[in-house]
């Protein structure tokens, strides 16, 4: 035991020395170009194991990003049964994304990986962190005829020992209980999606697409290990982004009460609802258009718009101004019945704070619909 410890200390010190040497070298004239250890053979991905990509260094479960694997966050995220998330992006050396509009996915280069890990803290009974799954989207190619991006899904389910995650596209359940920040124990029969379920939300005209990394969702400061910086500026600095507009109409953190209520609501709805309620998406036959860029129009938000599917006769509009109890959106967000809840996928329990946000907003709206 003692010996092992000594061995580890020795390794650690050697590593430190090595890094120090590198640092020294870089200041000298001999040019050194660090290379990302990430492995991305587009003919072989998805790999069978998460570790095969070398996105992370050191102990896998620490999710310590390798060189050129950059963490990022979205201003407002999708609610998935209170799971915590860490997001990273990686692009092949010498490639970068381009800006395509505030509310549009960045045009990523072929080989890009978007890496999102779902975990819980204070998991019962041991009060430890448990990582459940890591979802990766890889841009494998651009169709030469249609010029459409070809993204592929790769979902990795973590083992109980938390030492590795294995490719699994079939979907499964992972029952979990955890203590939240108010010391309340909550439970979920957490659903790990199958490939088909991934596609249901991540698609446009039935072709896979990412959802989160749009300029509108990234345009805020993030605290990196080397300081705080606007994420888009950081991406430019890292060589991951060509440029971006300096006047981006941006979503906000829905939890940020310093922001206007309506902007918080529109940000929340964009993150949680727009993937299905946008043109060319799963449910585009319904009248709502929930993308942030479209919800400045109250009709797109469903305000005073009658529902096409009658769940309950008392729910008269998608949003009944001043009356959350008569609003379909409020009802569906409060429902855990698979057939009436919204979003359709991604949650099995109620996002109480999200419901409260929507309720406060609806009840603040006037005058009433007529």
């Amino acid at each position: 035991m003692q010996q092992k410890y000594l061995l580890r200390t020795f390794l650690f010190l050697s590593l430190l020395a090595f890094v120090f040497l590198l640092a020294c070298n870089s200041s000298e004239d001999t040019e050194y170009t660090p290379v990302s250890p990430v492995s991305m053979d587009l003919t072989r991905v998805p790999y069978p194991k998460l570790s095969d990509y070398k996105f992370f260094e050191g102990t896998l479960k620490n999710l310590n990003p390798s060189y050129k694997v950059i963490p990022y966050e979205l201003a407002s995220g999708l609610f998935t049964d209170y799971a915590l998330k860490k997001r990273f992006v990686w692009m092949p050396s010498g490639t970068k994304a381009t800006y395509d509009g505030d509310g549009k996915i960045l045009k990523f280069p072929v080989g890009t990986a978007l890496i999102k890990t779902f975990y819980y803290d204070n998991v019962q009974p041991s009060e430890t962190r448990q990582i459940i799954e890591t979802r990766i989207m890889i841009k494998k190619s651009v169709n030469p005829v249609t010029l459409q991006d070809e993204w592929t899904f790769a979902n990795y389910v973590w083992n109980d020992e938390q030492t590795e995650a294995y490719l699994d596209m079939n979907g499964s359940y992972s029952p979990i209980s955890w203590k939240n920040e108010n010391n309340v124990v909550k439970s979920s029969n957490y659903r790990i999606p199958s490939e088909t379920e991934c596609l249901m939300c991540h698609k446009s005209n039935e072709r896979p697409i990412p959802i989160g990394p749009k300029p509108q969702n990234l345009n805020f400061s993030y605290t990196y290990t080397d300081g705080t910086k606007n994420q888009l500026a950081k991406w430019v600095e890292e060589g991951y982004l060509e440029s971006y507009s300096d006047n981006i109409v941006s979503t906000v953190d829905w939890k940020d009460t310093s922001k206007p209520l309506e902007t918080r609501v529109r940000s929340y709805i964009d993150a949680n609802c727009a993937h299905c309620h946008s043109t060319n998406s799963h449910c585009d036959y319904r009248p709502m258009r929930f993308a942030f860029s479209e919800t400045t129009n109250p009709v797109n938000l469903g305000i005073c718009v009658a529902p096409q599917e009658n769940i309950d006769n008392s729910l008269t509009y998608i949003i009944t101004k001043g009356n959350s109890q008569r609003s379909v959106m409020h009802f569906r967000m409060s429902s855990v019945n698979e057939a009436t809840r919204m979003p359709l996928l991604g949650r099995t329990i109620v996002h109480e704070e999200g419901v409260q946000l929507i309720q406060d907003w609806i009840d603040s709206l006037d005058p009433a619909c007529n």
């Binding site: 088909t196 039935e206 060319n280 036959y285 096409q308 009658n310 008392s314 698979e338 009433a368 007529n370």
Partner: protein
């Protein structure tokens, strides 16, 4: 001038009434205008008669006893109340046993449309209790009671509440083999069944624990006797897979059979896909090719995918099994829906080739429509002997409802223009075809709390009803179809029209007779039904076959064309009653004494029925004898290849012989 006079009269009859806080202290009122100062009586409202699901905490009570039979309107839908939000329930039965009569929340049109109005027929001398509640608002308002001469509506329903403990209350079907529709309530670990009482009104509730149900019927439920034990089993369609609840021990035990395969279930059905006499199961898959479960004949279902709607992106919402080409087997129509630029939303019609294979004939049949639909209603709307379809729009994105007339040659024509559906703007996910007013023409219950009553000429007229979509069955066995909405049953108020109900008991075919074609003949010509498990989108409705026959009373014959090919013909059955038909009990070949490889003799007989066999190796497992009402009167192992019939009364009996391999054969004999 007239208006002014009216308001003066109303003004005179209007008076301020004090709030009445309980049913017992209900203020007696008569026709006229009344003012409620505030809704503050501390009596919670838990018996909800209108289309509501949420209780209220405070209420105001009034009693009204008409002195004549009137059509009475109770309304807050008055200009003076504009902008307010009211709700009320109307009861009879006295305060100790309140029974729903009517109720309303939002039928008003003035202001924001949240005012309430209900028109109902009230009987002279009966006391009605009217309770306003604070579901939406506790502030005061004015209401009117308006008496008018009695008008009999084309269709109306009377609510009555039942107590249901389960989460999913979407199934009305017979569960204990008495052919009376029961109510099924499903939860994770139990079934609650309200068994319809045989000789009295109402139900008897039984709670049966089940082994754990992984997939709850959030998206759909279907019923059918797939293990052929005489009791219906259930198919539960959840968002991630399917679970079956299989009966054991004469319908007293339900064992869950959970399938691990990922299925985003939508409509589910039981149907005999390969016509082997055992029910298979079909499930629409929202996002992948459809799946089905083939029955091995021992009640074991094997998961299959492929061959019955294989669009890689799914889009399958509303499957319905219907014999559109009158060739004696069930074809499959799938109502489809999907956003974006895709072909997954194009409806599909799969013709059953009769040999277990299917051919997609959507385009040739003129049914390949991209309309965004979750269900279609099929019936012979024009009584010309083939099944027509109402493809119901769930969204207007790709066009509205389409009424498709069956041309009788495997194709359909769009006859929406001028049918009443061209001007019907409500959209929804449920569309079912039944004869709700027993006039002999199949109606459609779809969106907007509206029944489209068939005018008899392929046109429909909308009639507003209180119930929303829900499972349908005859829950008081009066020959008129009722509608269940959660814990409220909306009983169809009968009219003078006549009817017949036909219950099937399959022998060679599946035991429910699902897939059978039922025909009745009379002065109207012919009416037809297909026996189906699973129509509309979410609910399971009765498996009994119901016909209205209008003012006619004489049915000249009933013909049952079973999936097995057996044809039963019943001459001159009595109308306004239930007819139970056992497969093979009314075949025209009266002298046929063969039961598979066995021959029975003598026939007629006084003491014994004996059996010969052409295959001496084949043994008899059991012999069941039914009377003409379909009741089992004897079950015997036929030891010595004979069954005593000495204890039976003289008459005609149905006999079912089961061989040692589980094959069943039916015949008839006369005891004299």
């Amino acid at each position: 001038m007239k208006k002014i006079t009216l308001s003066i009269i109303l003004g005179i009859t209007s008076w301020m009434t004090n709030a009445q806080n309980t049913c017992a202290a209900a203020l007696p009122i008569s026709a006229g205008s009344h003012v409620v100062n505030a809704v503050d009586g501390p009596t919670p409202i838990t018996i909800l008669c209108g289309p509501n699901t949420t209780n209220a905490t405070l209420s105001e009570w009034y009693s009204y006893t008409p002195t004549n039979n009137y059509t009475v309107t109770i309304t807050t839908d008055l200009a003076i109340n504009s902008g307010k939000d009211t709700r009320f329930n109307v009861y009879t039965g006295g305060c100790a046993a309140l029974s729903c009569v009517a109720g309303d929340d939002d039928s008003g049109v003035i202001g924001n449309g949240y005012l309430s109005t209900a028109t109902l027929n009230m009987s002279s001398g009966t006391t009605y209790y009217i309770a306003f509640d604070n579901r939406w608002n506790a502030s005061g308002f004015t209401f009117d009671i308006i008496e008018q001469p009695l008008v009999v509506p084309v269709i109306s329903f009377s609510p009555q509440t039942v107590s249901l403990s389960g989460t999913y209350n979407n199934c009305v079907v017979d569960m204990n083999g008495d052919n009376l529709d029961d109510i099924v309530s499903v939860s994770t670990s139990q079934l609650q069944i309200l068994y319809k009482n045989t000789s009295t009104a109402g139900f008897t509730s039984t709670v049966i624990p089940t082994t754990s149900v992984t997939n709850l019927p959030t998206w759909s439920i279907a019923a059918g006797d797939y293990n052929k034990d005489g009791y219906n089993d259930l198919l539960l369609g959840g968002g991630n897979g399917a679970t079956f609840l299989q009966t054991a021990n004469s319908g007293t035990i339900y064992n869950s059979v959970n399938y691990a395969q990922y299925i985003f279930c939508q409509r589910s059905n039981f149907t005999d896909i390969n016509k082997d006499g055992n029910l298979d199961a079909f499930v629409c898959h929202d996002v992948d090719p459809n799946v089905y479960f083939m029955n091995n004949g021992s009640g074991i279902l094997t998961y299959n995918q492929g061959g019955l709607g294989d669009h890689t992106e799914g889009g399958n919402y509303g499957s319905i099994w219907v014999d559109y080409d009158n060739d004696g087997d069930s074809d499959l129509f799938i109502a489809k829906c999907r956003g974006g630029s895709t072909t997954a939303n194009i409806n599909e019609l799969h013709r059953n080739n009769g040999n277990g294979t299917f051919t997609n004939v959507s385009v040739a049949a003129n049914m390949a429509d991209p309309i965004q639909t979750w269900s279609s209603a099929w019936g012979d709307f024009d009584n010309d002997g083939d099944m027509d379809a109402l493809v119901g729009a769930s969204s207007s994105a790709n066009g509205m409802h389409k009424l498709m007339r069956n041309n009788g040659n495997g194709t359909f024509s769009d006859v929406t223009a001028g049918s009443g559906y061209d001007t019907f703007s409500s959209m929804g996910i449920e569309h079912v075809a039944h004869d709700f007013n027993n006039d002999g023409f199949v109606d459609v219950f779809g969106a907007g709390n509206t029944i489209m009553i068939n005018n008899g000429n392929m046109t429909f007229s909308p009639y507003a009803v209180t119930p929303s979509n829900g499972p349908i069955g005859d829950l008081n066995n009066d020959g008129f179809l009722d509608i269940q909405n959660g814990s409220t049953i909306y009983y169809n108020n009968p009219n003078a029209n006549h009817w017949i109900k036909i219950n099937l008991r399959g022998i060679q075919s599946n035991s429910n007779g699902i897939g059978a074609r039922v025909e009745i003949y009379g002065a109207w010509g012919r009416q037809i039904r297909d026996v189906r498990s699973g129509d509309g989108f979410r609910y399971m409705s009765t498996l009994n076959t119901h016909f209205g026959i209008g003012t006619e009373t004489q049915i000249t014959q009933v013909i049952i064309r079973w999936p097995s090919g057996v044809v039963d013909t019943i001459l001159n059955p009595t109308s306004n009653q239930v007819l139970t038909v056992i497969e093979g009990s009314n075949t025209l070949e009266m002298t046929d004494n063969s039961l598979g490889n066995f021959t029975m003799y003598p026939n007629p007989t006084r003491e014994y029925i004996r059996f010969n066999t052409s295959n001496s190796d084949e043994k008899i497992k059991s012999v069941s004898i039914y009377d003409i009402s379909g009741k089992v009167v004897k079950k015997d192992t036929a030891s010595g290849n004979a069954v005593s019939v000495q204890d039976l009364q003289n008459g005609t009996y149905m006999i079912v012989l089961e061989n040692e391999y589980g094959k069943k054969f039916s015949g008839k004999f006369i005891k004299n």
